[in-house]
């Protein structure tokens, strides 16, 4: 008599797993329905991947709340989809984790200083679906004033600190190669380690997006002792993203961000949005405003969002200009210039396609 093989009992379980796995995702057929949108509604929470350690963009404050331009982008989307900006679960991700977290569905979207590039966007690369750019940036280099370095050439033969897994790493290599400058790249996995090594004097310079350098500098013990070199080494369009393969969800994200731009262009603010809605309801001649605010037409429905997603979003976080000023502009410790992040009507790059 053969002793009963107890581990055989585990087989049906294993089978159930594999089969269950199949049955599970065979339901993800295409069409107008969005799996992601129903998932988000089902759990009544938007899971948003952020940096979490970058003042002005996404920063976990001592009171346990996130602040910043990226954090507000998450809030805007939560307000549009769920009608409540507080229904966001933030997930801190470092630059190496972010794409895997997005691809695996651990987060619904990224609002995390991510540069839109061809290889990240394409199906043959990271296969990411990018929304509209929320911050136009460029890569810069920060050095201690005391180092005496004033241009890239002064860094010849020196170690430079950089966060690994970023476009920064590649731009640095390209620019230095062009100009024939030798250097040693010291790569660290997280921003914390990168800036700790810089402050520890291991490298003479640290490179990243200029906004990020300014943000990190604001948290240094002595911010005045560090300067940004004048060279801008690259274009860095920082852009929220979702995973490829759910166009309806990508559209909802895209047009929520556009709504922030459009609201600024139309002069709709957090303070006056209620009045604007009332005005649009009262006056049938204001067709553009009525459509934008969801009083007329079915824009919300077309996106799989509530009809009034625009006023809800603006009431929650304000328009793009308000978000910018509050987090990184004049009203913040960073005091960054609006520069190319002004509206197109003022010579900037911020532009929303028509809501029609």
């Amino acid at each position: 008599m053969q002793p009963s093989p107890r581990w055989l009992l585990a087989l049906p379980l294993l089978l159930a797993f594999a089969l269950g796995g199949c049955a599970d995702d065979s339901g993800s057929g295409g069409g107008v329905q969005s799996v992601k949108l129903s998932t988000i509604r089902g759990r009544d929470k938007l899971v948003c991947g952020v940096d979490g350690k970058l003042p002005g963009f996404s920063f976990l404050g001592p009171d346990g709340t996130y602040s910043g331009l990226d954090a507000d982008t998450c809030r805007a989307v939560a307000a549009a989809v769920l009608g409540d900006p507080s229904k966001v679960e933030y997930r801190d991700l470092n630059s190496s984790e972010r794409f895997a977290a997005l691809a695996s569905g651990e987060v619904d979207m990224l609002a995390r200083n991510t540069t839109m590039t061809l290889s990240r966007d394409s199906a043959g690369g990271n296969g990411i679906s990018f929304g509209p750019t929320t911050f136009y940036d460029g890569q810069g280099v920060m050095v201690p004033v005391a180092s005496g370095a004033r241009t890239l050439k002064d860094l010849d033969g020196k170690p430079i600190c950089v966060e690994s897994g970023t476009t920064t790493e590649l731009n640095l290599a390209d620019r230095m190669r062009e100009q024939g400058i030798t250097y040693t790249p010291l790569k660290f996995q997280t921003g914390d380690q990168t800036y700790a090594a810089y402050l520890g004097g291991r490298c003479v310079a640290v490179t990243s997006d200029r906004s990020q350098l300014a943000a990190k500098r604001s948290s240094f013990p002595k911010p005045d002792e560090h300067i940004l070199l004048p060279e801008v080494m690259s274009k860095e369009p920082l852009t929220p993203a979702s995973v490829n393969g759910d166009p309806a969800w990508a559209d909802a994200l895209r047009w929520t961000v556009f709504a922030l731009f459009q609201a600024e262009e139309l002069g709709i603010t957090k303070a006056n949005v209620a009045a604007k809605v009332a005005e649009a309801k009262a006056n049938t001649n204001l067709a553009d405003l009525r459509r934008f605010l969801g009083v007329e037409g079915d824009f919300g429905k077309q996106l799989g969002l509530p009809a009034d997603f625009v006023p809800k979003t603006i009431a929650a976080v304000g328009n793009y200009g308000e978000i910018f000023e509050r987090n990184v502009g004049a009203g913040s410790p960073l005091k960054l210039e609006r520069a190319e992040n002004r509206l197109w009507t003022q010579g900037g790059l911020i532009y929303s396609p028509p809501f029609r």
Binding site: L15, L19, A103, S164, P185, K187, F188, Q193, G245
Partner: protein, 313 residues
């Protein structure tokens, strides 16, 4: 009918594997991510801080990964030797007749073994090595200079002339320079693994019957001679299998290098993954590399184990 049972189980297992692989391929196809290795030949276009083989940004990804592998092997090999020397010394010291030495060995083992390795690496790098002075203020011993930018050692220069570190225009130069990242990682790996090796060695020595010590002493052998000629050869039978797993741990732990800025295989893979998006391929290469390294260590240690076993005549 045991063979029917075996056949059924075998078939079921194959079915499960087929289902899982099928599922994987289907999901990858849906995501447009079928396995491809063409990217290995494309230019890496990123730089590395240190490399034993020539490398620049115009070379392909496979070359960058090779640089990482060589750097990993370098820290693993030096680490294995260092951890063995330190661990053996500490393990033997815990049997010393000198009470101070004995206690020192115990304190070392208990402190180091109970702190996570990652913390120790960050400590060595950020707290100890980055606090070192630079230039003329660097720590100097005959033939050795230790500064924030690295460890400079005397070594054979051209021909067979012995050459020490020298200061040229405020910058140290030496025939052998170890980056501070490598030195910090190595220090962390050696001290950490050394503590475990010390325990393995101590256990091995303790397993030798007391009578053997007494017999050696009655022959008029000193402590060190008894240890060397009588006790250690017998203890090795117990020590070697234990060492094997410590060596394998050290090899795997070397992948924590990325925390202290050393360009090892994992660090290069991470950059490659981020630039190419080929997560599955990069991880397959990583898994394969570490598996091969560990199997090699095991094979060598099993050979050593055969040598030290009792041979019946």
């Amino acid at each position: 009918m045991p063979w029917i049972l075996q056949a059924v189980v075998g078939l079921a297992l194959l079915l499960v594997i087929a289902l899982l692989v099928g599922n994987l391929v289907r999901n990858l196809t849906a995501a447009g991510l079928l396995l491809s290795w063409r990217w290995l030949g494309q230019p890496a276009s990123f730089d590395v801080a240190e490399s034993l083989i020539p490398f620049d940004a115009s070379m392909p990804y496979w070359r960058a990964l090779l640089v990482g592998l060589v750097n990993s092997l370098r820290v693993i090999l030096v680490g294995l030797v260092g951890a063995t020397l330190l661990g053996t010394a500490m393990g033997m010291a815990s049997f010393s007749s000198n009470g101070l030495l004995r206690r020192l060995a115990r304190v070392y083992v208990e402190v180091i073994r109970n702190i996570p390795l990652l913390l120790q690496l960050l400590f060595w790098y950020f707290v100890v090595f980055l606090a070192l002075p630079n230039g003329t203020a660097a720590f100097q011993l005959p033939g050795i200079v230790l500064s924030k930018s690295g460890l400079y050692l005397a070594w054979f220069a051209q021909g067979f002339s012995w050459q020490g570190p020298e200061l040229v225009n405020g910058v140290w130069r030496a025939p052998l320079r170890l980056s501070v990242e490598f030195t910090a990682l190595l220090t962390g790996l050696i001290t950490y693994t050394g503590a475990f090796v010390a325990e393995v060695v101590r256990g091995g020595i303790a397993s030798v019957p007391k009578g053997q010590w007494e017999a050696a002493t009655s022959l008029g052998l000193h402590w060190s001679a008894s240890m060397r000629s009588v006790v250690l050869p017998q203890a090795l039978r117990v020590i070697v299998p234990g060492l094997n797993s410590q060596y394998i741990s050290l090899a795997k732990n070397s992948s924590l290098a990325v925390a202290v800025g050393y360009v090892d295989l994992y660090s290069v893979s991470e950059t490659t993954l981020n630039q190419t998006g080929r997560a599955l391929e990069v991880f397959l290469l990583l898994l394969g590399s570490y598996l091969i390294i560990d199997l090699l260590i095991s094979a060598v240690m099993n050979g050593v184990n055969q040598l030290v076993q009792i041979r019946e005549r």
